[in-house]
């Protein structure tokens, strides 16, 4: 492991920290809405990782107004991919929230532990 | 029958086309694009017209009987209002600073309710936002000429009631 490299790449380290905290929220909190927020944080960490992969030191944003070979541009491919990813993540969030509303109508709670208890009493 | 229907459609269209809002939207469009060529202006005009037609009845109601785009007296009133507002702002900031720096914290927070004599909704909203912008007071609720203000001290509450009754806003009513 190269320690100076890790210090230089603090964007990736931040992305990993977001990923871990999001995973922690999803694992330990019994509330379903909190789990959805944790899932969104994990999504954001992936976006942060990809966009920082595409960054080039001293580059401009990829809008070519007057083309010349000297100007350096940021890599546009990760930006395009992450644009797709954001929309898909919002779709998944919306569907998860619809399921949560449905679960609340069925069980009267959105706490996973209480739902498990109700299910075990039913059987 | 058919002619009646057409006339009705014409009436609705004429009520919904709002030249002043279209002009303001065109200005916004020019600011956004930063271009002044004919193609851009045509597209902007088309979009502004379409938006005004679509949102028609839900925009600000037109004020009756004014030929000019902006009444000259309105500009003067706006400047006078801003001048008074700045004076009030400095006073209120000094008062709140004195309260915060005082180690005894002499706060008597409470709600004040009073009625406004303003007819137009936009003037009431202007007053409510001015109260919120002033440090120490906060407008909590506003409906139908009735306003509820949260004030930090008793003096500021009295000030707010005075400010609400003053004549600057009534000048806005007249213009």
């Amino acid at each position: 492991m190269n320690l100076t490299n890790i210090m230089a790449n603090f964007y990736y380290v931040a992305a990993i920290i977001f990923f871990l905290i999001g995973l922690y929220i999803m694992l330990t909190h019994p509330n379903l809405i909190k789990k959805v927020i944790g899932m969104n944080i994990i999504d954001s960490s992936i976006f942060l990782f990809f966009v920082s992969v595409g960054y080039i030191e001293g580059g401009k944003s990829p809008i070519i107004e007057n083309p010349s070979p000297l100007t350096e541009f940021v890599n546009p491919l990760p930006s395009g991919l992450m644009l797709t990813g954001i929309v898909v993540s919002v779709s998944i969030t919306a569907f998860a929230l619809a399921l949560i509303i449905r679960i609340y109508q069925e069980y009267g709670t959105i706490n996973v532990e209480e739902i498990v208890k109700i299910r075990s009493e039913e059987e | 029958m058919r002619y009646d229907n057409l006339n009705q459609i014409k009436d609705v269209l004429l009520r919904r086309i709002r030249p002043r809002i279209v002009i303001v939207l065109m200005l916004f469009w020019v600011l956004l694009t930063g271009e002044f060529s004919s193609g851009y202006l045509f597209v902007g005009f088309f979009l502004s017209l379409a938006i005004t037609l679509f949102w028609g009845g839900f925009l600000l109601p037109p004020s009756p009987g004014k030929a000019l785009f902006v009444h000259p007296a309105l500009i003067l009133t706006v400047f006078k209002y801003i001048y008074n507002f700045i004076i009030e702002l400095v006073n209120a900031s000094l008062g709140v600073t004195r309260i915060v720096l005082d180690p005894r914290l002499p706060i008597e927070a409470g709600f004040v309710e009073f009625d406004l004599e303003l007819d137009k909704a936009i003037n009431r909203v202007l007053l409510a936002n001015t109260i919120t912008l002033t440090p120490g007071t906060l407008s909590v609720f506003l409906a139908r000429e009735h306003i509820v203000v949260h004030a930090l001290t008793r003096e500021s509450a009295v000030d707010v009631v005075d400010w609400g009754k003053q004549e600057y806003l009534e000048e806005f009513e007249e213009v």
Binding site: N5, V13, V53, G54 | -
Partner: protein, 97 residues
């Protein structure tokens, strides 16, 4: 509480693994990253002539990778359909009872 500690230990292991990957990655902000030099040059040099759009990101998502975006609109459509199904099923069931 025991669950939290187990989760913490697991996350620590995952984090150490990911950190070791970061240690091997190229430095942030380098010009040539992975093996994508050809795509980068192609998009930035021939993008405006080939697509007519000077905003390269929108050129990528709606011209070079337009099929990808078509799939994405399908995802949006499927989401709306699934939400309607989930919530309308509840309303219909309530009506039957």
């Amino acid at each position: 509480m025991k669950k939290n500690i187990v989760a913490m230990i697991m996350l620590l292991i995952i984090g150490l693994g990911l950190m070791s990957v970061v240690g091997e990655m190229p430095t942030f902000g380098e010009r040539r990253f992975f093996s994508e030099e050809e795509m980068y040059d192609r998009y930035l040099q021939q993008g405006p002539e080939e697509t007519g759009s000077i905003n390269i990101v929108s050129a990528i998502i709606t011209d070079y990778r337009a099929f990808d975006t078509l799939g994405e609109t399908t995802v949006l459509f499927a989401t709306v359909a699934a939400i309607y199904g989930t919530l309308l099923a509840a309303i219909n069931k309530d009506g039957d009872d």
